[in-house]
Assembly symmetry: C2
Homo-oligomer: 391 residues x 2
Amino acid sequence: MKDLLFSVEEYMSRVTKTKASMEEKGMDVLIVTDPANMNYLTGFDGWSFYVHQGVIVALDEEQPIWFGRGQDGNAARISTYLEERNIYAYTDDYVNNPAKHPYEYVADILRERGLDKKTIGTEVDAYYYSAKCQQTIEACLPDAKFVNGYNLVNWVKIVKSEREISFIRNAAQIVQKAMDTAYNLIDIGVRQCDVAAEVLKTQIKGTDEFGGEYSAIAPLMPAGVRTSTPHLSWSDDVYKDGDTVILELSGCYRHYHCPLSRTMILGNAGQKVRDLGATVAEGLTAALEGIRPGMLAEDVERIWAKTIEKSGFVKDSRIGYSMGLAYPPDWGEHTASLRPGDKTVLVPGMTFHMIPGIWLDDCGVDTSESFVVTETGAEPFCNYRRELLVK
Amino acid sequence: MKDLLFSVEEYMSRVTKTKASMEEKGMDVLIVTDPANMNYLTGFDGWSFYVHQGVIVALDEEQPIWFGRGQDGNAARISTYLEERNIYAYTDDYVNNPAKHPYEYVADILRERGLDKKTIGTEVDAYYYSAKCQQTIEACLPDAKFVNGYNLVNWVKIVKSEREISFIRNAAQIVQKAMDTAYNLIDIGVRQCDVAAEVLKTQIKGTDEFGGEYSAIAPLMPAGVRTSTPHLSWSDDVYKDGDTVILELSGCYRHYHCPLSRTMILGNAGQKVRDLGATVAEGLTAALEGIRPGMLAEDVERIWAKTIEKSGFVKDSRIGYSMGLAYPPDWGEHTASLRPGDKTVLVPGMTFHMIPGIWLDDCGVDTSESFVVTETGAEPFCNYRRELLVK
């Protein structure tokens, strides 16, 4: 019945690294609720993160303990290596019920395992770890000490294994097909949703060798004035002469992502967007080529900023971030950012999405590359022409 | 530049109802972070809920106040009716930065508007309202009183307007096309991801009159033993003789959903799943036909439970929930559930997804209908054969 993507040894080595980090921070127990972190430590899969669920890592327990909704218990049995005694499924009356909260159940588990008087870390700023989760568990376990465990697992997973990188390479094959689909179909008079439909189809169909997975972010495909901001998507209007179209897409293989952005201009597009496109591509290329292991994350941003200085364009947001294994709503890992002040040392096996997008009042340009830090520099996962896509 | 889906009057009537509920509960200010609630009150759209953002409703302020990341400010300008003075965009160094938290910025806004000593409700158990948000705002505003504002807006939006219902009807057209796509393509030897790709294409392409939107939940399409749990999805294996395939899909139009589930059996499927399919369809039909306005939510479950009693199958989870406007990760509204103990009175204009799925050790059946409560009963949004889909 087990359907594991990595060896039990690889999962357990992740658990061991997590425990070492916990020990260093004086933590006995860590409650992990970020679905990507749950998957990383146990293999757990499923679109069940819309109800409260998690895995508990305790220094005193060999395996993590999964908790979740009753009907999702079989997903834990199918997708993880956990023993039956480490799978706790709560009854359905805990779901969306103001009279009961799932973290009362979590407190019961911790009490049963003798962990209710320990120092407990929680992912305080993670997706799906609500204020109510923290309020409930604090009220239920008055003898425990609570500390901040946010991003602890995220920092453990920042350096990828060979097998993880091979998954991202598969995702890279998919995203390049999706970008081709978008480029081939977008044209003046074509309905935006019809193109988005074919892009999604391409993302999921994958290749003849492997299929694609739902991505942590839907295809972001704004057109026209909607490109003045990065997170709007398609509409059912048609593309118009002079439109700028931003394409921020990702391939996704087994929940590992390879994001890639390009910007397209249609027909009679203005000179400003052409200049902006050339500037962004030049800065992106310089920054990618300048990366060496041992550099700091902020050094990469410096190369970019110095390269585009002469253009007059300004970017006031980070130019990239660590990425990889993810569930909605984000493929970013929330650890290292390529921006001033970030002192993360770049190490081989780290994977980033460098996306130095610039959005002006009426248009914007996104051009990006996902890359892995190697022994000698940075290797982009994709090989896709970096200039503006013109039609 | 404004791109509103509803009249400003309709948005403001929602704000007025929200304020009335706040007043009743002794709340001066409500911080709304659920993306569906943000959209409901202001029209705000965009896949930017992966960073902290929200709208603040204050009894003393006519319009809500939007806050979010700098680069998403233009999304507020494009998709909402808010005046420029009510749009607050924070600098990018607040994003994924352990040294700064966006709720320090939110506290600054409340101070600037003279709201820092008020009674402030927060959506304590909503998606994207993390424990850290609550910890930060409480630390920043020591003179404020904090109360639970979870689900306040959700209860305001439970009864839909005519225009909202027309959006769900559009979504219903889309989901029936998606179900046809799945039925037509699924067959022994076909790769699961190839079918999922066409289903997603159908969802987004929509009809000749209108396009589709990304759904709050990806198509859930488990096959074989993976149907013993509801939230696994496709793989890149091929469908096999004897497989059960669960199809939980949704149409989505302008973020309004119409979910629909059917279960398919391939070739030599067992008698147990056929019996289960007949039982679920019979119970679903009886419950739907028995609904009258004025009934309680729990009464609907009683009809279902009595109808299937004789079969020997047991369902230990709720059979449905209120649904409508939603962003990932859930199309449910987290208010009324069709289950024992839920005393919500059914009122015309409420919309539900009734999904009495049953999952056994090695297979499961989902058959569902989305419906609106009318003056005389319940009207399903779809008209799709309710029995098991056999091939």
